[in-house]
Structure formats: C-alpha cells, structure tokens
C-alpha cells in the first residue's frame, strides 16, 4: 500500500516544458495507477476535472469510484475520507480553495491529526488534503487565503508546499505515499508557470521534510516556500547589483521542518530574512524566526527579519499587490540587516 512506483511504468519520458498544474495532474494519475487504494474526492474533481483542472481526465481514466464528485460539504468530504482511511484506503481530498477548507477544520484537528496517536498507532491516516492557496490571481474574497499556520500548529499533520514543477510532482507523490496525513498546499499563482520537466527524473520523488537551497549565497539567507520562492530568487538576482550574494532556501516541507538545512545556511551567512505571503502575526515566519534565533543566536549579525503579508484580511484584487511581499520589500528587509555592524 502506498508504494510510489507504478507497476507498469511507461517508457521514460524526455524533459519537456510542463506547467505545475500538469505535473500535479500527472502525480495524481501516477498515484492512482500505482496503488489501487488511492481515491480522489472533492467538489467538481470528477467530470469537470476540478476548477483548476488539476484532476482533469482522472475520472475518465479511473472511473467515478476512484475519482468522485462529492456533495458540497467540506467536513463531510474530510470526514468520509477518515472513514475510508480506516478501511485501508488512501484518500486524496481536494478543497476547492483555501478558505473553503475551514468548514473541515474540526475533522482535521480533532480526528485526522490525532487518530494515529489516539489509537496508539493502530489507525494511521494516510490522507492527503490538496489545497490551492495564496493570492496574486485576482481572486475575490475567500479565494486567496494562506492558511498554513493553522495546519502547522496542529501536531500530527505534515505540511508540504512545492515551488517548482518538478517538486509539485515529486512532493505530491511522496505525500500520497506517506502513511501520515499531509496538507498539500498548492501555490495557485504558480499553477501555470512552465519548466522543462519529466516525471522520470531520478530525483523525482524527494523525501518529505527536506528543504533545498535554490540559490547558494554568502551574504544572507532568504528562507521561504511556495509562492514566495520565485519572488526571493528574483530578489536575490536583483541584490547582486547592491553587492549582496543572497542564499535562497526553499523549505518545501514546513512540517517536518528541516532545521539542519536552514541552520547550516544561517550559520554560514549570519543573516536571515523569512518571506511568506500569509499574514505575519503568529504566522509561519514567527516560528522560523524564533527557531533560527534560538539555534543560531551566536552566529547572527542581525535579527532575523520577516517579510510577510500584513495583519489584515486578504485584500480585494485591486489592492492585493500592496499586500503581497514583492521583490522591493524583500530587498528593503535585506537592507535593514544591519550591514553597518
């Protein structure tokens, strides 16, 4: 159950341009093909193929019992997924948008996250909850939330978010294969970004819980994930003009958290900025800043700074660009890293 290799793998595919949406779709397809206990369920995931088309073609390929359009009730979807997992299935649930996962929070916190623990390991919950998240797509209210902090603060959950086409495939396959529940956050504004990619690359299924250095650098570390990774990479490029050589760490898994990679980087650079979209107060960045400070205190030349969304409800489309951490705001923070010291 949950093996990540397809029994009848097609011939190795060459690298060619693909979007993150396509890579996710392929990961679902390959997981469904590899493991008959994998089931996809959610609102509009069947006939329509999902509002973002991530499940496109899956119902046609695997039938309505494997890929199921559910009634419109998120707690019901996740709650029935719990029951399916109790019977040995491996449900992959789609929440249509981040804010529409909130009705399922009780099932998530009180059951999904705790079931293995409550039952002393006899009742694992190999459930993957896919949630398109974040802003920048001009969505009206409730369509651009970044809810990762709620999940991160819930012991028993893993929280994973890809930033590249290749990781989208690999991390989703690893998440579905994991015997513990995973909140799989899909940065919706990266859905249509393209990269050269093949599902058959050797590094295709990275382990959960491992960050990756996307750009090595020596002056300071940008710690980030999901939709903010491209922003940080762009900022790092721009920073070379100021003579700064920024390292960019893409966390990929927020839980388990890769302290080793993060701290190794910060110990080397002595300076760090955490960047994410969700509001800052009690957000992911608070945890990262606090733990980096705890663990790397004597290596720090400056406080660990945070660049995040403001502590406001996610703004309407016409104002979201003022809310989202952009390249300039990241560079401003880097400039505040007490270079005079």
């Amino acid at each position: 159950m949950g093996t990540a290799t397809a029994p009848a793998a097609p011939a190795k595919a060459a690298r060619k341009p693909a979007t993150m949406a396509q890579a996710l779709n392929r990961a679902l397809h390959d997981s469904l093909a590899a493991d008959p206990t994998v089931h996809v369920l959610g609102e509009d995931v069947g006939t329509l193929g999902g509002v973002f088309r991530i499940t496109d073609g899956l119902a046609a390929a695997f039938g309505p019992e494997r890929v199921t359009d559910t009634p419109l009730a998120e707690a019901g979807i996740l709650g029935t997924a719990v029951g399916m997992a109790m019977y040995g299935l491996r449900p992959v649930v789609e929440m249509q948008f981040d804010a529409f996962g909130y009705p399922a929070l009780e099932q998530l916190i009180s059951h999904v996250a705790k079931m293995r623990n409550r039952t002393r390991g006899t009742m694992p919950m190999p459930i993957t909850v896919r949630i398109p998240y974040g802003g920048g797509i001009g969505g009206v209210e409730h369509h651009s939330d970044s809810s990762e902090a709620y999940y991160l603060h819930t012991p028993g959950l893993q929280v994973v978010t890809p930033a590249t086409v290749a990781d989208a495939y690999g991390l989703l396959r690893a998440s579905i294969a994991s015997d513990d529940p995973v909140i799989f956050l899909e940065p919706k504004r990266l859905y249509w970004g393209k990269a050269d990619w093949s599902p058959d690359e050797p590094e295709t299924v990275p382990p959960l819980g491992r960050a990756v250095v996307r750009r090595p650098g020596r002056s300071a570390t940008l710690i980030t994930y999901g939709p903010s990774v491209p922003v940080c990479l762009e900022a790092a490029e721009a920073a070379t003009a100021e003579g700064w050589d920024l390292e960019v760490v893409d966390l990929r898994s927020l839980m388990p958290f890769d302290d080793e990679t993060v701290c190794a980087s910060v110990r080397r650079t002595g300076r760090a900025v955490v960047v994410h979209e969700s509001s800052g107060f009690a957000g992911t960045g608070a945890e990262i800043a606090a733990r980096v400070m705890e663990r790397c205190f004597h290596h720090l030349e400056a406080p660990v700074l945070r660049v995040t969304g403001f502590d406001i409800p996610y703004p309407p489309p016409m104002l979201e660009r003022y809310h989202l951490p952009g390249v300039d705001r990241v560079l401003d923070a880097v400039a505040r890293l007490q270079w005079e010291d």
Binding site: E43, F310, M318
Partner: protein, 398 residues
Amino acid sequence: MARSSLASGSGKPATRSGKRPGTTAAARPETTGPGHTPPPGWRPMTDPAPLLPDPEPFRVLGTPAAADADPVLMRELYEALVRGRRFNRQATALTQQGRLAVYPSTTGQEACEVAAARCLGERDWLFPSYRDTLAVVARGVDPVEVLTLLRGDWHNGYDPAATRVAPLSTPLATQLPHAVGLAHAARLRGDDTVALALVGDGGTSEGDFHEALNFAAVWKAPVVFLVQNNGFAISVPLHKQTAAPSLAHKAVGYGMPGRLVDGNDALAVHQVLTEAVERARGGGGPTLVEALTYRIDAHTNADDATRYRDAADLEPWRAHDPLVLLENALRDRDLVDDAELRAVEAGAEEMAAELRRRMNADPVLDPMSLFDHVYASRTTQLREQAARLRAELDAEEA
C-alpha cells in the same frame, strides 16, 4: 476475545433470528400494550403532513389562476425580468472587458431573483449568496455598489444596515445562520422584520444549512429560506448532491413547512415567497422554499459548462423561460402591446448603458485603506505596518 464482557463470551450474537423480518407495516403492533402508560415524547411533536411540500411545483402561469393575477404586479415583474436579463448580459460583457474580475450570472433564474427582492418590505432583510447580485439590484441597491465585490475594489460596496442587505456571501450557506440570528434579534427587539436568505442547491449540503434551519425552527424565527435549485453546483448535478424526494422535503426534518415552486414562474415564486414572508411576520415561523429553475449560463464567465452538460439539456428550460412565460401571460390577457414591450426593452438598454458608463470609470483606490476597519481603531501593530507601506509608497513616488 474470550473476555469477561456483557456478551457472555462472544462478539457475535449467538443466535440471530434467522428469518428476515417482514415489512415493518405488517409487523407493526398495536400502539399500547396491556397496562402500559406511554412515557412522554411518545408521539410525534407535530403532524408531519402539513410540512410536506406540494407534490409538484406550485405554478400560477399556465394555470387558471393566471387569469386572476394582478396586472400591475405582472407588468412590474415583467419589466424587472427584462432588466434582470439585460443586467446579466451586461455584467458578463464587463468581465470580457476586464471591468469585472468574475460574474456568476443568473440568466434563467431571473424570476427567483426578482421575486426575492419584491416579496420583502422596506424593513425586511435580504441575505444573498454570491450569485444573487440581481436580487440585490432588484431591491434597489446601486448596481455599481453591488458589483464592487466582483469588480475587485473592495469586498462589499453597499452599506448593509442602510440597505437591509447583507454582503453577498461566498462561503456557501454561511449566510443562513446570519439571517436566522438577525430575524431572531429583530423579534427580540419587538420589530416585525423578516429575513429572506438565499442559497443554492449545492449549498443545502453544507452543515451550516442544517444548523441554520434547525435554529430557525426551534426559535420560530421570522426567516424564509429560498433554495434556488438551478440543477448544478458548478459541475455537480443534483442527483450527486442529494437523494431527497426534493430539497423542499428537508423542511420536514426541522419541523417547518416546505414549499416547492416553479422557479421560472415569477408569479408563483412571488406568491409563495410573499405567503412565507407574511407567515413569518405573523409569528408563524420559518418556511423552506425550493424553487426549481435552471442555470442557463455557465457557473461564471470563467467556467466551461460544455465539460459537464450537453447543449441539448438546456432546451426544455429555454422552452420554459421565465420571461417568455410571463410575456405570454401578459399577451394572453392583452395586458401589453408591442410598443410597451419595446419600451421595456429600451429602458433595460438604457440601464445597461448607464451601468457600462459607470463601470468604465476606474475606481479611485487608496492603498492605505488596507489598514482601515480591521478593528474599530488601528492597533499598534497595524499602525507600524501602515507606516511601512506609507514609506514604500513615498519612496516609489520619489
């Protein structure tokens, strides 16, 4: 499992009566046995029969009752339907011109939208879902303010207290408990205000639907629930949403009457809603109304309905068009002539032109307003964040 337990020794009943019991009706015993006093709660609290909805949708148009309908009402509804359809078309066009972020159209559902607005008195409240732009506009709220959410300059454009219209609600069914609470509050304060809450067929599956209807019935709150059953929740057809005889039958489980109505018959919807509103106002408690209708357009301009339904499926519904039904009734009774119909069309055209004109103006936005109204007054934290944005904006300008 040979443990000390209640089931002396086995997890499985030692004997199960082998024969499959007969139908329950046949096996049903006499009510009380010898010497038996039934405990309280023995009988149903209320008779379910009056709660059951009409076996077929209630209609006025195409029935003898149409001959007695109020001509003034008919004309007014007709005009509102025509304007409503034109509004839907205009708003969809505005999405193509980039003037609206998205528009969920109610083409085909105009009768429900218009009747929902017109069954209410001025002191009553309307709780629309995200699709019900038209109902809010039909209530008299400035359409540009109604479209604010979908244009994207703010989350809500009109003043709910001044208009007695709650914000368009995107999280499905979440507005229903609000309507119950408001109606309950009004009654506690001695007002005879009624709340009308709108929800889709898909929204009835949400827990909030259940909780709202239950609270309403227990509190006898003056609230009316209108389910517009337009056949789909985005791509999901009704039979994947419910196995109930009808959505109106859900009323029985809350102890309120359910009504089933032809949602494309403006007179019928208007009558059923008006009755329900007056019943609520008179202290009779809540009603659940299901209006059978159809979403002619795609879910929104961004949706591709061909992925989940055939063009042919629309035909019976186009034949049952709310505008045509009412126009025919007006013509049957010689209540309109072509000139009048053209005048109505012209009025709708003018409304659309005015809307276009106003929506083509760029809204003036102040980024600093992001920090307004998060709290009654800004926290220290928000003052700091606002100062940072202010500095960024100043730097950009310089």
